[in-house]
Symmetry: C2
Subunit: 412 residues, 2 copies
């Protein structure tokens, strides 16, 4: 495959940004744009035309994209509700699939996605961009080198004040709004779970066994709406939101590790993923981009500790994958500080080379199922929920696979 | 009461430090020292004699201290297992009780402690020193002023690498060692839970309803012992520890808030309590001693955010209680940066004035019960556990009570 001909399904903000990156790749052609809103289709067509002179077919019916012979791959960034049906139909149509992140609404959807892939084995990659981010890769590189000892625990968060995004935008089209009004769950687990799951070799020598979730009440969105009565969409005034402001989820792994996820999206705060890796010999903390190893000086004052150790992980930057060693300014500017570029390049390269996707359908199913299981757990007062083994026991035999290869440590 | 005559029961490291502070108070006399080890009793007697010329009675039998007519109050810092029996006997002997922190081994002990107090109403204070620490008080002052809006969530940790302490010391006399070998639980919840419970008005308009706990496997202590085979107590080599390295506990409150506790004591790390308060209009983060309010600038980079907001809570320092406005160098040097001094002074002052203790028997029972409930939850795969209401419904009527009074905000 010389050129990859891509159809985009779902053309909101996320797809717009990712399509801009794809349009920068010489070996990619955008041949179709689909969204349920016609104005978005037209935005996409115009973008593709302005940037590369492409004239993609546009449609509001994704099945038309799947029936096009000249579509090699689809990038799916529809609303969360449509991720499963579109991805399943795309796999059945033997299209290569790049599926954007989100969470599942029921366990059966996850099984159906796995079955669809197992039927056709069409290339499938779950587009968890944070797995390609510099911080998370640096921590993973150090972990792979054994410098943290045996990994015992990982934690992270999706801490992002989304009150404006959820309540604003084009006539409340946003899929997040529907979800925040009607559900209470860990609705967006994969940005932190993905990198942790890779470090802990989930589905590859290890697996997630069970979870518990607990949510606060829903106070943040309602306060936000109340404080903006004069300017906000009047339909939102006095409305009850279902989504708890902060949701914690604890996950137990087969090999004795735990993971902690936090969803934190409807109270005032500044963005953070709070990624941490803890081992018997050391740790990584994204908050200060620090490594700390057994025997190093301790500080009672955290402000002093931060001063001393911040950016100490940079000592190991030679171990970052080539994609990050050679990153261009264009890539860094392209979206979320470079990770989107690295991720998309990797999808296209693996597709062209026929290489195995490093975030596969088993990862997608087991990461997305956290959402509906957390919903059940919260409803049942924090009851533990078993996490299905979508690999049907194969997790025991599947070898560890990182999203990118790491380099050796070179002393500076 | 002009002078408070104190007996010390349990004379390990903790009691030594606290007795040094008490010996600095003119209105306190140390009249008895008790420990099950005679050498420790002698250490205590010598300390009291050297510093103030006291000649306290020493004994290995705490009941002898309780039977002394010239003992007004006992400070109990025995091993965790003995906290309940000694405190219950002391209350029944009508002694004022200052009970050091720890966790419960069974729910019934907590009920028995409450009953003993309700029988005699002898003054009782649970000695949770972190409730008197500057950071936590500053956050509470700001919360009380309403600047965080409605409080939604609090979190904190006891993150303290105790591997050396647990495995070392005088012939492994340490009560922690026994616990780490035989139990797996949130064994030390109160340093973070205490300040959170005060902010959330637990037992005073609110209550803790249920919890779930999850623990990692036990890897850190065994690695630590293995790495020190040549120097460590040989009895510990190859021994299995029961305590998981990191234990997370999620607590649901009657009024819709949640709390998250982390015990993190057997992996390499630097000390932190990670205290956080989250509300609909702002937050406090101990890690950077920061406040952040709705509408302030956000940063994608956490390192930049830390730089911008670190120590921003200091703007509100005029609101700190008088004890922290007037703190002396002697107090700051006395133990844990001043909080032990402030706490002990408060116990003595309230006792002399006959004022209600701000951390009472209901707080002690409901905070310590977390330990045995977390143990059950972990054993049962994270099953939710109901938290008893030790106030028997009175939590609805009891007014909020802070450990110290706050001052007004004064612009600098």
């Amino acid at each position: 495959m010389e050129k990859v001909r891509v159809g985009i399904i779902g053309f909101g903000c996320r797809a717009y940004g990712m399509t801009e990156i794809l349009l920068g790749f010489d070996d990619v052609e955008i041949v179709a744009i689909c969204d349920k809103y016609e104005d978005r289709c037209e935005n996409g067509r115009k973008l593709a035309q302005d940037k590369r002179g492409f004239n993609p077919f546009t449609t509001t019916n994704y099945k038309e994209v799947l029936s096009m012979d000249n579509v090699d791959a689809v990038y799916i960034a529809a609303d969360w509700e449509m991720h499963f049906p579109i991805a399943i139909d795309a796999l059945k149509a033997k299209k290569a699939v790049a599926l954007e992140v989100g969470g599942a609404y029921c366990v059966q959807d996850c099984y159906d996605l796995v079955s669809a892939w197992e039927e056709t084995k069409a290339p499938f990659m779950f587009m968890e961009n944070c797995c390609y981010n510099r911080d998370e890769l640096l921590a993973t590189a150090i972990a792979r080198k054994g410098l943290f000892g045996r990994i015992v625990h990982c934690s992270g968060a999706y801490s992002h004040d989304l009150r404006g995004e959820v309540t604003g935008g084009e006539e409340n089209r946003h899929y997040r709004l529907r979800n925040y009004l009607s559900r209470n769950c860990e609705n967006y687990p994969t940005h932190e779970l993905g990198p942790m799951a890779k470090i802990l070799n989930i589905n590859r020598g290890n697996r997630m066994v069970s979870l518990v979730s607990m949510a606060t009440g829903s106070f943040g969105m309602e306060q936000y709406v109340e404080d903006r009565r004069d300017t906000i969409n009047p339909h939102l005034i006095g409305v009850d939101f279902a989504q708890g402001d902060i949701v914690h989820t604890l996950i137990k792994c087969e090999n004795g590790e735990t993971m902690m996820l936090k969803l934190d999206t409807s109270l005032p705060r500044s963005y953070s993923r709070e990624f941490q890796v803890r081992g018997t010999k050391g740790l990584y903390e994204q908050e200060v981009n620090a490594v700390y190893f057994d025997g190093q000086p301790e500080y009672w004052s955290r402000v002093e500790y931060n001063e001393k150790y911040k950016n100490s992980a940079e000592k190991y930057k030679s171990m970052l994958p080539n994609a990050w060693q050679e990153i261009t300014q264009e890539a860094l500017d392209a979206g979320h500080g470079g990770m989107d570029y690295v991720e998309l390049r990797e999808f296209i390269d693996r597709l062209k080379d026929g290489r195995e996707m490093a975030i596969d359908v088993y990862d997608a199913a087991s990461w997305m199922v956290i959402t509906c299981l957390s919903e059940e757990s919260i409803k049942e007062g924090g009851a533990p929920k078993e996490i299905p083994d979508f690999t049907n026991g194969e997790w025991k035999n599947r070898p560890s696979l990182d999203v990118l290869d790491f380099n050796e440590y070179v002393e500076e």
